[in-house]
Assembly symmetry: C2
Homo-oligomer: 370 residues x 2
């Protein structure tokens, strides 16, 4: 059902910023307002008054029933969908020369869709809705904390499954299959980013996935999971070594653990995001890995896998101050030393009572028997 | 390894269209040229000469080794990555006032990334690379046909798994977990679009996913899967009824089967994509469902789940002519009758020897015992 409180707060911010309407094209804000998972949703939130849902004719009755929203424009084709959107925009503009319409411009908004929207509505000034939604979504309410805690429990099951299946001879794809299946069986609806099972030379990669590569004895393996529960994400990453680690591998792992701990200890309301980085950087530099450190060890998370602040993508976000009630991860950066391997150890935290509380404890050993 | 033949053909088209370089930001074209799966790849293909890979320092050695590419610019941060790209662009422009650079603007290119690229390179005119890549990728070579046939076999396993697990009392999420796991175990690397298990009132939805909804006796269930094998997709959808169908459900299902068959029979080189639609539309109209028909029953497919022509998204694509050697699906449109249910029956075909050949046969019964 429509969350009237969230709607009211978003509309107040929209009016402050002279944004006439928000055109929702992505699932995250749709879930935020309507609490319902729908693939490729379309809705228009005016600066005042009830939202308007744009929906396929086969979904009309169910949308009205489940959302408690009276105004649904129904389409049967893309052409009609565009007409519906343009029609609502015209009605809204009334006598006005032009409208300022917010659109989300993050990972889930394809460039062509934005172009299509602008071509269909030439009288509209499109603005980034991040100014309204990012701050609003930064602090999580109790319901959101509960959903993310559930997502974190699902993530832990994914990591524990990895520890159980990783052994010489298994492929990354096979391990990925077991992780995804276990997380699904635990109630997850899927993943927000591809599951990483980055083994051996792939452990030092910046991004990840699973491939046909066979896991070998001595491989370091970075496993990173971001399952969703009712739209909400939690992020958990652990690094393993298959068999006995070399001294260099063990040193890399222990350094990362200390760096993550330093980052976690630095978390408190009022500091800037980059101070978490600075705390971790000191540990890496003292260990002689300063050059190998990728700044941006912490990002926020919620209905999207990376929410503001997300300094590895928007470096300016490193100046954003932490606030009580936000969610954040610590451990996002990979420590990558070619010839040795890569390490990433990441947990999701709730900033509560002035410090970081992990959503779940996930104690798995670095060294896996083989 | 770099596919020099594909590169040569792309570069010839780029020169014809006065495009100086192609900035690759998406996995599909990266796989097309380099045959390697990498999450968030970055590469620049100039109109002449060898490509330049932009990669994270931890991946440099392995990228050079596996791709056989000499020129890799290495970054450690997003800032450095942007500098690398800008540097290459400057080198390329030489004495030129401005460069025309192609970028893919489809589902996998986020709006913000394109904005970031334009801001970092104000001297550049950004053009849609679709004009180069869409036609190039339309006709599949033997290697691509083999990979897509493998993807289709994995899709069939997904559909057969759905038939085995669908019964009253199971949730859509649970069925989805089994489908994804079975497809992974069969060699798939994941899915290109979320698995649909749209049951009961959700069967008539335009898009899909799996939810916590419990499958009930009498539900129609649309199952739609698009697994990937080494980057390549195949699309397969089937509709089931859990228990004995009502006469209206059976009529809807049989009508769709006849419409799909009419669409398949219409496929031949030289006709326009919309003629497949017209053949299906006649069947739906004669059955009294003409108003419920969503035009766009056929789209192409390959390294992306919808490739040109994709008439439900770009209506003008309905005028594109079919060519020998292309891949296409027939059955993309949902037939949605509120109160009865929805049907979608979709297969992937290779247009060969003048007619449509299904990549796999997938004979599952409409009625599931319960």
């Amino acid at each position: 059902m429509l969350n009237q409180d969230r709607l009211n707060r978003a509309q107040a911010r929209m009016r402050e910023q002279a944004i006439d309407a928000y055109m929702i094209l992505t699932h995250d804000d749709y879930i935020y307002f309507f609490g319902e998972v729908r693939h490729q949703p379309r809705a228009i939130v005016p600066a005042m008054g009830p939202p308007i849902i744009i929906t396929f004719f086969g979904e009309e009755e169910e949308v009205k029933r489940s959302l408690g929203v009276g105004d649904a424009r129904v389409f049967g084709t893309v052409g009609q969908q565009i007409k519906d959107v343009v029609g609502v925009m015209r009605e809204m503009s009334g006598g006005k020369e032009s409208l300022r319409v917010g659109v989300q411009m993050w990972f889930n908004t394809p460039a062509f869709l934005l172009n299509m929207f602008q071509r269909a509505n030439p009288q509209i000034e499109v603005v980034d809705i991040a100014k309204v939604m990012d701050e609003l979504r930064l602090v999580k309410d109790d319901e959101e904390v509960a959903l993310m805690t559930r997502a974190a429990e699902i993530a832990r099951i994914g990591i524990e499954t990895a520890a159980r299946f990783l052994r010489p001879g298994i492929t990354e794809n096979e391990v990925g299959a077991e992780i995804e299946y276990a997380m699904r069986k635990a109630g997850g609806s899927g993943v927000a980013t591809p599951v990483f099972v980055n083994s051996g030379y792939r452990s030092g990669w910046l991004h990840g996935t699973t491939t046909e590569k066979v896991v070998e004895r001595g491989d370091m393996v970075v496993v990173d999971v971001v399952p969703r529960y009712r739209g909400y994400c939690a992020n958990l990453a652990r690094t393993f070594v298959v068999g006995a680690p070399t001294p260099a591998q063990l040193e890399l792992y222990e350094t990362y653990r200390r760096a993550q701990a330093a980052g976690i200890a630095a978390v408190k309301p009022g500091i800037r995001n980059r101070e978490i980085d600075a705390a971790a950087q000191r540990v890496f530099s003292e260990a002689g890995h300063g050059e190998r450190y990728v700044p941006g060890i912490s990002h926020s998370i919620g209905l999207d896998f990376e929410e503001m602040p997300r300094p590895t993508i928007h470096p300016a976000d490193s100046r954003i101050e932490l606030v009580e009630g936000m969610m954040l991860t610590v451990g996002h950066s990979v420590l990558s030393v070619p010839g040795v391997g890569g390490v990433r150890i990441e947990d999701t935290f709730h900033l509560r009572d002035g410090r970081a509380h992990a959503l779940v404890a996930c104690d798995v050993a670095f060294e896996l028997p083989c």
